[in-house]
């Protein structure tokens, strides 16, 4: 479904962000993208939606379509991107207008807006100003704005940053219910373990490992070598395993 072949990227200031990245993601898969700060996770995610680079060379393709300037519209229609900072993503004066922005631009029906707001549990927030929302609410409005575009691939950049435990729990439940293919970049390894059966470890712009989440994240040496830690959820296993994440035995 998503194919990335030999993707390299250098920022305009000369800093190399990605080096020879290759991987594929199958339809319906949920893949975690982990790695230390500055590993290139966000940069990689921006490529999946054709935001970067300025010159598209077809190294990334989604559902058989190469990400290029000709079909950038249909790529953006298929791939929904949730940004790291909700304040960057919420640019309209009211919640309703923000969620309706995507459907309006893509020529979809505005009836998707109430449904998207209901899905994230924010019915009744339509007239509120994004500036007056809590961090968790902002995050949910962002997600509603992405869901309203009905994407087939959901790309999330640090979705649980700044969320309190309840906010995290609700977001996890919400994401679990979304059938789209998902790629989640996060430092929240508990979230990755619970949602993603497969994980890609990125460091200094290169893929260091790609495999089963439990196996990779249990490898303490590998984790420490790349600025990460073995998550507690794997250190103290529940005797009955995880109902929501059967891959954690």
């Amino acid at each position: 479904m998503i194919e990335v072949r030999n993707l390299s990227y250098r920022y305009p200031d000369g800093k190399e962000a990605l080096r020879e990245i290759s991987f594929t993601v199958a339809q319906g898969e949920c893949v975690g993208l982990i790695g230390p700060n500055g590993a290139g996770k966000s940069t990689l995610l921006l490529h999946l939606n054709g935001i970067l680079p300025e010159k598209l060379d077809g190294a990334v393709s989604v559902l058989g379509q190469p990400v290029s300037s000709e079909n950038i519209d249909s790529i953006r229609r298929m791939v929904g991107l949730l940004f790291q900072d909700p304040d960057d993503q919420l640019f309209c004066p009211t919640v309703y207008e923000d969620v309706a922005f995507g459907p309006q631009q893509l020529g979809l029906s505005e009836s998707l807006v109430p449904a998207a707001l209901e899905r994230v549990g924010l019915t009744g927030f339509e007239k509120r100003s994004p500036h007056h929302l809590s961090r968790g609410e902002k995050r949910r409005v962002c997600l509603a704005g992405v869901l309203a575009c009905e994407p087939r691939v959901l790309v999330l950049d640090e979705p649980t940053t700044d969320l309190d435990p309840r906010g995290k729990r609700e977001l996890k439940a919400l994401l679990r219910d979304i059938p789209a293919t998902k790629i989640i970049a996060s430092h929240d390894l508990e979230l990755v373990v619970e949602l993603c059966p497969r994980v890609i470890l990125l460091d200094r712009g290169e893929i260091v490992a790609d495999g089963k989440t439990v196996e990779l994240l249990n490898d303490e040496k590998l984790m420490l070598a790349h600025g990460l830690e073995r998550p507690h959820i794997l250190q103290h296993r529940h005797p009955h395993g995880f109902a929501e994440a059967p891959w954690v035995k």
Partner: protein
């Protein structure tokens, strides 16, 4: 940190707040236009308008102190021009005209912006087919003005917590850095906002 100095009282509940935004905008613009073209000798018009606006202010439940403060804040801009008129022959007449008209016009706009949420005003402009680019610019300005102020406030606090000198030169120097930083941060944010808009189909 919550800033809402543009339309602080626009979400109160009063008969004026409940009026539809279209009516309020049209009436406000009509009042401003009529006031600007009306000769100052039509004293009755100005007196009646003053009474009507005061009545609206009372009904709308906006605190008088807030309205007076806002007027005092904005009036100096008009007064600056008016004072210059005093230096020419017959300047008192021009001075009085500018002061009376600008006060009434400003009062009208203050009442409008504090009885109608900004988003609704933008909605009216959109329905009146104002250029989309202008409306988007206004909407983005309204959305990020507060964020910028929050950011400035946070930086100011962080600076204050590590400032141990009272020398004026040093303080000015730091202020320069803060302003520069704010500019760089805003530019970077603008790039990220544009990316987020593109991601949802903006063309």
């Amino acid at each position: 940190m919550r800033h809402d100095f543009l339309d602080r009282h626009s979400r109160l509940d009063s008969p004026i707040h409940r009026l539809c935004a279209d009516t309020k905008l049209v009436v406000a613009l009509a009042i401003v236009s009529a006031t600007v073209v009306m000769p100052i000798s039509f004293v009755t018009y100005f007196v009646i308008l003053g009474v009507v606006l005061a009545g609206i202010a009372v009904v709308s439940k906006i605190p008088v102190s807030f309205l007076a403060g806002r007027l005092l804040l904005l009036e100096p801009l008009a007064l600056g021009v008016a004072v210059l008129a005093l230096f020419q022959p017959g300047g008192w007449y021009v001075f009085a005209t500018i002061v009376v008209k600008s006060t009434l016009c400003l009062f009208t706009m203050i009442l409008l912006s504090n009885t109608t949420p900004f988003a609704e005003l933008l909605g009216v402009l959109r329905r009146l087919r104002f250029p989309a680019l202008l409306i988007t610019t206004l909407a983005l300005m309204y959305r990020y003005l507060f964020l910028l102020m929050d950011e400035a406030e946070r930086m100011q606090r962080a600076r204050a917590s590590r400032t141990f000198t009272k020398r004026r030169f040093a303080l000015w120097k730091v202020l320069g850095t803060v302003i520069g930083q704010l500019f760089v941060r805003s530019t970077e944010r603008a790039e990220r906002i544009y990316a987020a808009m593109c991601a949802r189909g903006w063309k």
